[in-house]
Symmetry: C2
Subunit: 319 residues, 2 copies
């Protein structure tokens, strides 16, 4: 008998990815659409279209649909309260989708569902207390305390990227009015900024050569050059890793988790980023918390939002 | 009929305070003893003696005994895992007390039980998510998520005083190997340090006069002079309040709590400390979390540990 599935949807700012996923987290079909461009009605149509494709190509019965959205979510009402990239703010998104799809629908923040995926099936499996940082252009995060997601009074908890670790540090991004936040020091954007400074400081180095060759100094390029052994690129990752270590020190002292999981594009740097972070935690966090925590890369990469959205629904409607 | 009581004990580093307390948090009798001096056996005898006095003078039946201890506590086993001030580390304290007193005994960290008191009966009553900072010589803290204390993997969670907010800030205290922690910037000790700097910088000011009169520049004196209007003392409190505001900004972004409660000796400064903190939160924390949080003084002062220890027992054994 074909396994029952749910549809997990990662509704990102540029594309949406819908997967037909069973209880073992096998993905039976993936449907992708652009999410950028067009108005609200067009976006909703494309979402429905992708989900219907995934439903049609699922091997068996489909039990429900889950959405991970990069936005502050009122998960009780299923509404994206504020969203920078998608024209669905304040819309009763969950109820609209439930009506159009004729299935149970759940909605949560993308970092929260990614944390769920890592906690139930990934790098944080078995932990009672765990924290996920997904480091890309910015930093998303999810927090598990006693096995459950921390959501806060209005669903806005878990903004670990906007934890100030440097009182008078560089300005933060987007709609954050603060400075010296972890995101301002450790994200892909921060890595690009320190790479540019390094290229200017050492005109003979690999980063300067890349700049002269008109290659954009992105986090991805810094990581590539660092893996090739370039000292300037490695130093950039070390600087970011040490700041990350201060952030994880705070997480360790606040939550005493068994595991801190680091995902997102920047984790392509692997131990070039995590080893400096681990060194800082070992020297600055309190005992015994620092002695029990593991700091590990995420298991799930670009599909963690889709998988986590599926896990959320499987736990609610699955048998 | 006289109300049944429990005994709440605040086992501090210099004195212990045991109260016979009913379900309405009325204190029917207080027994106090020194906790400093003597060996482990002498301390245990004094604890038992104080509790027996409180039991003898309770109006009705005594249902159990709770202890709040300034230490990392393994609350499941009732053991003070590490304690700087008391000779009871690694002792099966709960079981020893239960045997000697013939009553159910519970043990937890003093800041955790103070958070319980504020959450069940005080400034955080009715909140689903709340954080307490008790600012004295150092900073203690307790965190309530979804109505329950956050304890962490080995009971070491909630060390918000050791959240780094200034990467390269001043060294922290005691057994903390870090620098720029909230405690290094905001505690009574930090206030004394900035007061000394201010006295040296302005020889005509009130702090310099106090220093010349050989009055120790404690947090308490700074607060007293600030209430009298001294500009230097007020500036010291403003500096501490702004750093506190950065710490509370982090708390607001991480936990999205309905309320942050500030207690401990330093809160004698009242709004001279809290107003600058509120200003920083308003300008640096994320919306909507910053819009829903209240930042308020604790309801319970020096007796919060005793009362919270009683609340812990009332919830476990009370009818």
């Amino acid at each position: 008998m074909p396994p029952p599935c749910v549809i997990g949807v990662d509704l990102g700012g540029t594309k949406l990815l819908a997967g037909a996923i069973d209880a073992e987290l096998n993905v039976h079909h993936r449907a992708q659409r652009p999410s950028v461009g067009g108005d609200r009605a067009a976006l909703l149509d494309r979402v429905v279209d992708a989900v219907l494709e995934a439903i049609a190509l699922a091997p068996g019965e489909v039990l429900g649909v889950g959405f991970g959205i990069p936005s502050l979510i009122d998960s009780e009402r299923g509404i994206a309260v504020s969203t920078v990239h998608l024209p669905i703010a304040d819309l009763p998104f969950r109820d609209i989708m439930a009506e159009r799809l004729g299935l149970p629908v759940l909605v949560d923040n993308d970092a929260n569902v990614a944390m769920l995926a890592e906690h139930r099936h990934g790098a944080a499996a078995g932990a009672r207390h765990a924290v996920l940082l997904t480091i890309g252009t910015g930093i998303g995060s999810g927090i598990i305390v006693d096995g459950r997601l921390v959501r806060g009074a209005v669903g806005a908890a878990g903004e670990l990227g906007h934890m100030v670790v440097d009182l008078d540090g560089p300005p933060c991004h987007g709609n954050c009015p603060s400075r010296g936040c972890l995101e301002a020091l450790v994200s892909g954007s921060a890595l690009a900024r320190t790479a540019l400074e390094a290229a200017q400081a050492n005109p003979d180095g690999g980063l300067a050569a890349a700049l002269a060759a008109r290659r954009p100094l992105t986090g991805a390029l810094v990581t590539e050059l660092a893996h090739e052994g370039d000292p300037d690129a490695r130093a950039c990752l070390r600087t970011a890793g040490e700041a990350l270590g201060v952030g994880i020190t705070n997480i360790v002292n606040i939550f005493n988790p068994e595991v801190v999981v680091v995902g997102g594009g920047v984790i392509a740097a692997g131990d070039l980023l995590l080893d400096p972070a681990r060194e800082v935690v070992a020297s600055r966090a309190l005992s015994p918390s620092r002695d029990v925590v593991r700091i590990v890369p995420a298991r799930f990469g670009a599909e963690s939002g889709m998988l986590g959205a599926a896990v959320m629904v499987l736990e609610e409607v699955g048998s």
